[in-house]
Amino acid sequence: MGTMTIWIIAVFLTLGASVALLRPLLRKQETSVDAAAFDREVYKDQLEELERDEARGLISGKEATEARAEIGRRLLKADAQLRAQTVKASSTSPRVIAGAAVLAVPLVSWGLYADLGSPSAPDQPLAMRMQKNPTENTIDELVARAEEHLRKNPSDATGWEVLGPIYMRLGRFDESADAWRNLIRLKGENANRLNGLGEALGAGAQGIVAGPSLAAFEKALELDPANEKSRFFVAVGAAQAGRLDEARTAWTRLSEDAAPDSPWRQAALRAIEESRNAPAVAAAEAPGPTAEDMANASQMSAADRQSMIAGMVDRLAGKLKDNPDDEQGWQRLIRAYAVMGRKEDAAAALASAREAFAGKPDALARLDGFAASVGIADGAQASPAAPGPTAEDVANASQMSATDRQSMIEGMVDRLAGKLKDNPDDEQGWQRLIRAYAVMGRKDDATAALTEALAAFDGKPDESGRITAFAASLGIEPAAKTD
């Protein structure tokens, strides 16, 4: 049902209601029947009932006589009342009052609905969503469709093959592992499938490559000794188990064997670097969505991909606002931002997470370790050292076009600017906005944002001082005052 139809129906409903209310007013004024006349009806009915009861023998003759006398007295009283009363003259012009009231009906209803309703939101019955053109489906809907298809045809290997990486991308690690297992059950083992399984299991175990996860990578390596991904993760497993030398050796060999443009070469080099800087266990990371997964995602339309990413991340961020104790959730959010190349957001998320876990050194250490592993440090500058493909690698591999990325970032920045307009007290938000504009080269916008921010914090020297200093660090100066 289109928006137009809804308004048309609303017009008819309003009209119908108003006419129903107005009709009594159009009638000729009737004389009112006095209430005493109604009382008489009741008393007469009571007398009849009394006779029936007496005839049935339900009450004795004496009781009936008494009751009859009592009702008779009431009847006489009502009669007297009727005679005493003259017909009431009605008030002069109720039509004006009533007319005004009826006019209020459309005003109140349309005004309130404009505020509360979402007239442009169409109905979205599930069945309809599942049947529309797949290019118009969101990623969630596509997954649901694939799931429904697989419920009916559980031995469709292609379906599981598509779903495995997508689940991984959506953070549904257990389901991803199940999908890979199903695929392996149907089509047998190969390195790629085992890698997928190992990765899903590892992610499900908060990034620890051990037990079944490590076993899957090792099996993959057995089947394909040259597989770079398997090699990389087996080494991660070794590092996490404390065998740093062994891991470093494996990474070094991997970096030598791999083609120069292979993401795994970069990843291995960074892992070596990281293993020198930090204890291996602290660097234990959840493997982010990998190049492959992003490549899979990139086979969807650009619009799907965008809505998929933005929707997922926004949901997660919203959840964490309500429930900031979810350490794993913060890790997922940071990873998501990092993978999308939104390093500033990732850093901001890390900062929020650190705030949420202030006073819990264990959790803070884990968060820092994790963030470092995906190339995010608590601050504006991202740490370059991280095992695993970084956001840049991913962005390259995903063949996301430059314009796509640009529009995605612009959308994000616009949203932020809009939010700040409603909620100008968000100091961090202003800093993020200024930084975003500065990074994107929109210096004028950055300056304008700084001016706005300073106006918002007028009279708060601490905040405005911090913002000015922050902007200065990005080369943004307040606009010269024109007075």
Partner: protein, 663 residues
């Protein structure tokens, strides 16, 4: 369709505002046309709320996850019936059901109110409009079920699994029909107070509406009790839980109102008391809604941290309860008192009934609210459970139940207690016999149970005595008796049937409380247990896949003394996948009035299952009694006496009325 529903609800608020103001203004100024707007306004509001309610149901049925309320309370794999019942299985939807039923009653008053004086009708409908407007505002601003989600998920969070049950699908509508039905008597009471006069038609109207609400409330409570019995897996039928008490208080007050309305209708006495009772009864209904809906019961703390809803309901409570009681205090003096009667009379008996029922309601109120008050003041959490209620409620009920058979036998105005006692000798003998039978043949030590059974039979035999006497037993021949019985008014039958139902329920309660047997044991495959003269055998455990749950179903066979299997019983533990919530499904085998109840516990270490097995003698009588009471209410409601005509309307109204013409 969703947005149409939302718009219709907003429009209903706008029309409700007109309904609240113009008719009563017309009634005060004597303007027939403004009063005439009451009925179309009420009917319009009903039509609009219906559209709105249907739109929400449609969103549930089609799993439209662009509606937040559907996302939070539905799941595409849920069976259709629970998709529909999910509409009112949550706060927002149930509030929409509440106003839907309220507007239904408003429309019914409008449609059937032709025989009411127009100013009374206009005022009553306007008062209903006030309640409706308050709830429309509450829904639209704190509990809007039509809020949309920008990017709809593909799956909902499912309805709380313990609500996915046929019992709870129909329990809320029945309960609300009861709660909201009392709004009609409330509106009549407020209208009488505003008018400063009680029309003769007042009691004739209030009694059937109260009766209708009472029937639904009885059904709702009985349904809720049976649901708790089989779904929660504890095998109890009443827990004195605050949620149950919330519905029990209006029932007690409503039962009192039902009886005082009889006095008012028959004798024009107890007018002021009946008006007060109407206010109290609906206040209990509002309080019940508040207790269950504000979240105050789950946690006083949670209520204090997110108070927007609770505070709104609290304001509604204060305005309607406080306002109507203040109005009563101010205006009650202007009402004229009615007929006089002796203490020993039908009226006196009904006053006694009222005293006990209202005291009982107050007892329940204290037991329900005291823990809440204590928690909000001192932070201490206590629960007032069965011991408190057994000590207070029980002793209050005992004299009331003893007196029940006397009431209908006493004459109006002046009764003869001794004569009534003489006529009840047979019933008393039956009760004594019941006591003796229990002591001699069931359990020699169960004196209390025997007395309880005696009381139950006293009620049963007493109500039959009432009918027999009305038919003229001992005075006329059998064919005449039969004819007279057939000629009895519906209300006489209704009274006897409802009192009989009370006895039936009491018998069930006494029997289960005193004589149920409980076994808790670990059973492995093939184990047997002798129970109630049969043998229960544990056959197997099988996994079952439901539409939106998986279950482990344990199957038992019931074997009689000859070794023949007479029934299979299966009891299950379900796991609802969406919410990861387990439920127990008790296995119940019914032998007419008694039941064998099998509930699964956890798997034992030796591979068996912990199983709780109850034999509950005569347990179904508890709910059958409720059905009988309801049936009594329906028979009474069908009484022709409740229909009266209206004086004809003409240009010379008074003249026509004087000739007594009927419309």
């Amino acid at each position: 369709m969703v947005e149409i529903g939302h718009f219709a609800l907003v429009l209903a608020l706008a029309v409700g505002l007109v309904q609240s103001v113009l008719p009563i203004y017309g009634a005060r100024t004597g303007d027939e046309r403004l009063m005439g707007m009451a009925a179309p306004a009420a009917v319009t509001v009903f039509a609009l709320v219906t559209i709105s309610f249907v739109a929400l149901i449609q969103a549930y049925v089609t799993s439209d996850f662009s509606v937040l309320n559907v996302v939070e309370n539905s799941h595409s794999a849920k069976p259709l019936i629970y998709k529909i019942s999910g509409t009112w299985g949550n706060h927002e939807g149930s509030m929409l059901l509440w106003v839907f039923i309220l507007s239904l009653f408003g429309a019914l008053v409008a449609l059937f109110g032709g025989n009411l004086p127009s100013s009374l009708r206009a005022t009553v409908i306007a008062v209903q409009g006030w309640i409706g407007t308050a709830f429309f505002l509450f829904i639209l601003f704190t509990s809007n079920p039509f809020i949309r989600v920008a990017s709809p998920p593909v799956e909902g969070q499912d309805l709380n699994p313990i609500l996915q049950d046929i019992g709870l699908a129909i329990h809320p509508p029945l309960l609300y029909l009861g709660y909201v039905g009392f709004s009609v008597s409330f509106a009549f009471a407020v209208a009488a107070l505003i008018d400063g006069r009680v029309d003769a038609a007042w009691a004739r109207w209030v009694r059937p509406w109260t009766l209708a609400a009472w029937i639904f409330l009885t059904a709702g409570i009985a349904m809720g009790s049976y649901w708790a019995y089989y779904e929660l897996g504890w095998g109890g039928f009443w827990f004195w839980d605050p949620v149950e008490n919330a519905s029990f208080m209006p029932w007690l007050a409503g039962t009192a109102l039902l009886h005082s309305a009889i006095v008012m209708e028959k004798r024009s006495a107890l007018k002021i008391w009946t008006i007060l009772l109407s206010i109290i009864t609906f206040s209990f209904s509002l309080l019940g809604t508040f207790l269950v809906r504000s979240g105050v019961l789950t946690s006083v703390h949670a209520f204090a941290t997110d108070p927007s809803r609770g505070v709104f309901i609290l304001m509604i409570l204060m305005v309607f309860i406080g306002g109507s009681l203040a109005l009563f205090a101010w205006r009650a003096g202007t009402l004229t008192a009615g007929g006089l009667f002796q203490p020993i009379s039908r009226e006196g008996a009904l006053v006694l009934n009222n005293l006990f029922l209202t005291t009982a309601a107050a007892t329940v109120l204290i037991g329900t609210l005291y823990p809440l008050l204590l928690e909000s003041v001192t932070g201490e959490k206590i629960s007032v459970g069965a011991p408190f209620f057994n000590l207070t409620f029980g002793p209050l009920m005992l004299p009331l139940l003893l007196a029940v058979p006397f009431g209908p036998l006493l004459a109006w105005k002046r009764g003869d207690l001794f004569a009534a006692g003489q006529r009840l000798v047979a019933a008393f003998a039956v009760a004594l016999a019941a006591v003796a039978v229990v002591l001699l043949f069931v359990d020699r030590t169960a004196l209390l149970a025997a007395l309880g059974a005696g009381l139950a039979f006293w009620l049963l035999a007493g109500s039959l005595t009432d009918l027999a006497l009305k038919a003229g037993i001992g005075k006329v021949s059998a064919p005449v008796m039969l004819r007279r019985l057939r000629g009895l008014p519906g209300s006489a039958f209704g009274t006897a049937i409802a009192h009989f139902g009370l006895g039936v329920t009491l018998l069930g309660i006494v029997s289960v409380t005193a004589f149920q047997t409980e076994n808790i044991l670990t059973m492995a495959k093939g184990d047997t247990l002798p129970v109630a003269g049969y043998t229960l055998r544990f056959d197997e455990t099988v996994p079952v896949q439901g539409p939106n749950y998986t279950a482990d179903e344990a199957r038992f066979s019931l074997v009689n003394a000859a070794g023949k299997k007479i029934a299979g019983i299966s009891s299950a533990k379900r796991m609802y996948t969406a919410r990861r919530m387990p439920t127990t499904e008790a296995g119940i085998h019914t032998f007419i009035f008694s039941q064998l109840y099998v509930s699964l516990g956890d798997p034992a270490s030796n591979g068996g299952m912990v199983v709780r097995i109850w034999y509950k003698p005569l347990v179904t009588l508890i709910w059958i009694g409720g059905l009988v009471m309801m049936f009594g209410g329906i028979v009474s409601l069908a009484d022709r006496r409740l229909r009266i005509g209206a004086p004809a309307r003409s240009a010379k109204g008074t003249e026509a009325a004087a000739t007594g013409g009927r419309a």
